[in-house]
């Protein structure tokens, strides 16, 4: 199908984009990669009356690392992350996710910030954002505010970005050398939504105990979830088989999936725990550590 009609504007700065969004109200949307928005418009699930294209906004196309943080602009595409040596070397979780988001062609166009703003309950990036403790900078006509992942992710397809606002930058803490991460995803085929997926990031102390843990799960509820109880179980502990089982059980307990062609609710609830366990094990392996008996 063809999308419903809309008026098309090109914004060349965040200020211009925010001003256009303010002028046109709730039915106006930012158009970045468009890889979720355009299909939604074709199905008439979304019918914005105004699109503000930001693709020519050169100043938004940056990946910079400084002072222990990675800053990414609004037009950075998944493929920019996939092919970045910096990301591959220093940001294991982001690197893992950028290899499996959608399909290779979509990754050349889709943006990280666009995916986060779309906030699909089966999306890959929201789970990673939760596990990595990332933040979003949101701009409106009065200025900017910083929102952490837990506040940013509000509900299915709903984020902290309000009418007249634009997400302009996402900030990911630079993991320490003692940090291992892993993204575990089951999908029926490339390009399909995840059947279930888990993002895990573990920072260890010198003695091998867990300093900080981040776990996000997706496609198993109305929105991506942070497995806070599981993270708390890991903190300060040596990672044993029994501990992994307990953390996996916390993920399964939180999951409230719906049955569809990808699997029954029971299966998804079970398998998301398995994915969390595999994610913990791979995070440790990547640090050259083994699970304690």
């Amino acid at each position: 199908m063809f999308p419903a009609s809309f008026d098309f504007y090109r914004a060349h700065s965040a200020e211009e984009a925010v001003s256009l969004l303010g002028e046109h109200g709730a039915d106006s949307r930012i158009l970045a990669g468009g890889q979720s928005l355009i299909p939604a418009m074709r199905y008439r699930l979304a019918q914005p009356t105004v699109l503000v294209d930001i693709n020519q906004m050169q100043a938004a196309n940056y990946i910079t690392e400084e002072n222990g943080e990675l800053r990414i602009g609004a037009t950075v595409r998944d493929s920019d992350l996939e092919f970045s040596d910096l990301i591959r070397t220093n940001y294991q979780l982001m690197s893992d996710v950028s290899d499996v988001v959608a399909d290779p062609i979509v990754r050349f166009r889709g943006t990280l910030i666009g995916s986060l703003c779309h906030n699909d309950p089966s999306g890959d990036w929201p789970a990673a954002m939760l596990a990595a403790r990332a933040k979003m900078i949101i701009q409106n006509k009065d200025g900017k505010r910083v929102v952490n992942a837990d506040e940013f992710i509000v509900d299915s397809f709903t984020t902290a970005v309000e009418e007249g606002e634009m997400a302009v930058e996402t900030i990911w803490p630079t993991p320490s050398k003692n940090t291992g991460a892993s993204y575990q995803k089951i999908e029926r085929k490339v390009g399909d939504y995840a059947t279930a997926a888990a993002a895990v990031q573990l920072e260890l102390n010198e003695d091998g105990t867990v300093k900080e843990a981040g776990i996000g799960i997706t496609a198993v509820s109305y929105v991506a979830l942070r497995v806070a109880e599981g993270e708390a179980l890991l903190r300060g502990q040596k990672v044993t088989r029994n501990l992994i089982k307990a953390v996996a059980a916390e993920a399964s307990k939180m999951a409230d999936p719906i049955a569809d062609g990808r699997g029954s609710a029971e299966y998804k609830k079970e398998v998301v725990g398995v994915l969390v366990a595999k994610g913990i094990m791979q995070s440790l392996e990547r640090l050259g550590r083994k699970v304690e008996a």
Binding site: M1, F2, P3, A4, S5, F6, D7, F8, L31, G34, Q35, I38, P39, M41, R42, Y43, L51, D53, N55, Q56, F83, A102, D103, P104, I105, V106, F108, R109, V190, G191
Partner: protein
Amino acid sequence: MEITLNVNGQEHKVDVEPRTLLVYALRENCGLKGAHVGCDSSSCGVCTVVLDGKIPVKSCTMFAVQAEGHEITTIEGLGGGANLHPLQKAFHEQHGLQCGYCTPAMIMSSYALLQHNPDPSEDDIRRGLSGNLCRCTGYMNIVKAVQQAAADMRQPAEAAD
């Protein structure tokens, strides 16, 4: 809206609505039927064209107005007739198709892949083409065709070494 699309090195002045998808502008306004329409859900990749010499895009998931200012390459721009591009020649020789519906996009996606990775492994090719669906074949001959074309396209550089 009056826009100018640069397709295969030629300028096309076209009058489109903002909602006109690039694939329809190419097919209906520019008369280039090589980019096909398949799934209507951005899944199948048969509409793949190349932007700025190396970026593969699904032309059903981009508005024509967004392609203004970019160089668009479609299968018609790669070659034809007696002047087949090494990829077209290889798909022919390796029989990398059955019905042919996915073939132009398969070739454009392969073209972009080879710009990024001139010497891909079989796994790189299978991964790189995983956004393009073929419902006839088992992909075996498609992979072989891309391997042959990659070798052909590397040859001048290797000969110069």
